[in-house]
Amino acid sequence: MNKSLPETNVIREYLLGRLDEQSELEAEISEHILSNDDLAELVESVEDEIIEEYLDGTLNIADRKSVEGYFLQPPERKEKLRFSRVLRGYFETKQSDSIDPVVGHWASLRPYYPAIALMLVIIVGLAYISRIRQKEAMLEAQLRQERAHSEELMQSALLPVPSQPAVTVFTLVLGQTRASGTPIPHIQIAPSTKRIIVEIVLNNPAAPGSPYDVRLESNAGTLIWSAQLLPIVSEGGARFVFDVPKEHLKLGMYTFTVSATHSPAANPEKCDFQVNVGD
């Protein structure tokens, strides 16, 4: 902005008619406006501001007197005042909605960006801690499984008659389906089985820490069980290890469906297996 332009507070006094008695300054500004379009535009913008303050009710008594008794006399300014009221009403109504579904919404959140950033950091941090805890829980589950297995071995060594295993463990590979033509694993579940532990090998693991939806469905497509799991990633690959409640598995064909929650568009992977019940 040109430095020779008068200060806005002087323009304001001019527009409120307070320089009319100071003929030299008033004439200087009037002539300057006549010949300088930049100043004329600035003056109009100060007019808008006076109208805004008038509508806000933030003018002092002297200024309000000048606005009502001088500034608002020309019809052009009355029209400006009227339009300002329409505009304010419009945006006040629109404030709760979004003017532009994308721009308006995000723009309205702009004052909260620092708080949003802080919340994101907290959420990411919590997710990281949760992932570590889940891994710990899985490792503990595996350890318990190993202990249980050791106990069974001990018991079988001590008992003269071999007993039925209390834990059934089976491994599935994603992609092993009837449709693919590969042989389907047959799982034998004894009446004495108390726990069923499933291991599913994941062929193409996503980035570490990305959870998956794992669903167990019957042959008829009925959802039996589901969980959101994190794969255990090691040098040998990635796999899920988890318990399935025994009562869910009866004689028949079943399918596990695994889909990445971070990539809903990706095709889920499946594996089929046959359950046989009996000794």
Binding site: M1, T8, Y14, L15, G17, D20, A27, S30, E31, I33, L34, A40, E41, L42, V43, E44, S45, V46, D48, E49, Y54, L55, D56, G57, I61, R64, K65, E68, G69, Y70, F71, Q73, P74, P75, E76, R77, K80, R82, F83, S84, R85, V86, L87, R88, G89, Y90, F91, E92, K94, Q95, I99, D100, V103, G104, A107, S108, R110, P111
Partner: protein, 182 residues
């Protein structure tokens, strides 16, 4: 007193002997002098402009070779304004309560429709600015405007930017309402 066709013709000829140039000159003189009378808080700036032209037409013989018609007209306009000031020196009593404005005019549905349309035609950046400018109340509003001013390079830059957006919206709405009423 309305300007007669004869006076108007003489005035145009004085501005320029070339018809189109005279029309352009006339519009410039009119715009600037009406704006002057608006700035001076006059009740009827158009009538004061006509009065100015009337006086100028009466003196055309004296200033036939005038090199700056706008400057000459402005000088006359200042005298018209001073006369107006003397005649309209009134004190308007005010109410000390906050301004109580009449409710928005009825039948403004079309204007609001046009406003919606015109806001939609703004650039995304302008729409964002004008929306945020009118956002909130009280302290939050002041804070928002300070934020906008710092984003745009200062209070003057914000003032001018919002003024341009409002002006463009006003023009757009006026045209839209006119078109819809035809």
């Amino acid at each position: 007193m309305p300007l007669t066709p004869e006076s108007f013709g003489r005035f145009l000829l004085w501005l320029s002997s070339e018809e189109q140039q005279a029309a352009r000159e006339y519009l410039t003189v009119r715009k600037r002098l009406v704006r002057f009378f608006v700035h001076k808080g006059c009740v009827d700036p158009d009538a004061l402009f006509d009065e100015t032209v009337d006086i100028v037409v009466g003196k055309i013989e004296e200033c036939a070779d005038c090199s700056n018609p706008l400057g000459y007209c402005y000088g006359v306009a200042r005298n018209v304004w001073r006369k107006y000031m003397r005649e309209h020196k009134v004190t308007i009593p005010i109410d000390i309560d906050p301004p109580s404005l009449p409710p928005a005019d009825q039948g403004k549905e079309q204007e609001l429709k046009c406003l919606e349309l015109c806001v939609g035609m703004l650039s995304a950046a302008d729409r964002d600015i004008v929306s945020r400018y009118h956002q909130d109340q009280g302290r939050n509003k002041i804070d928002m405007r300070q934020t906008l001013a710092s984003e745009l390079g200062g209070p003057n830059a914000l003032r001018i930017r919002v003024h341009r957006i409002r002006k463009s919206l006003r023009g757009c709405v006026v045209n839209c309402v006119k078109r819809s009423s035809n």
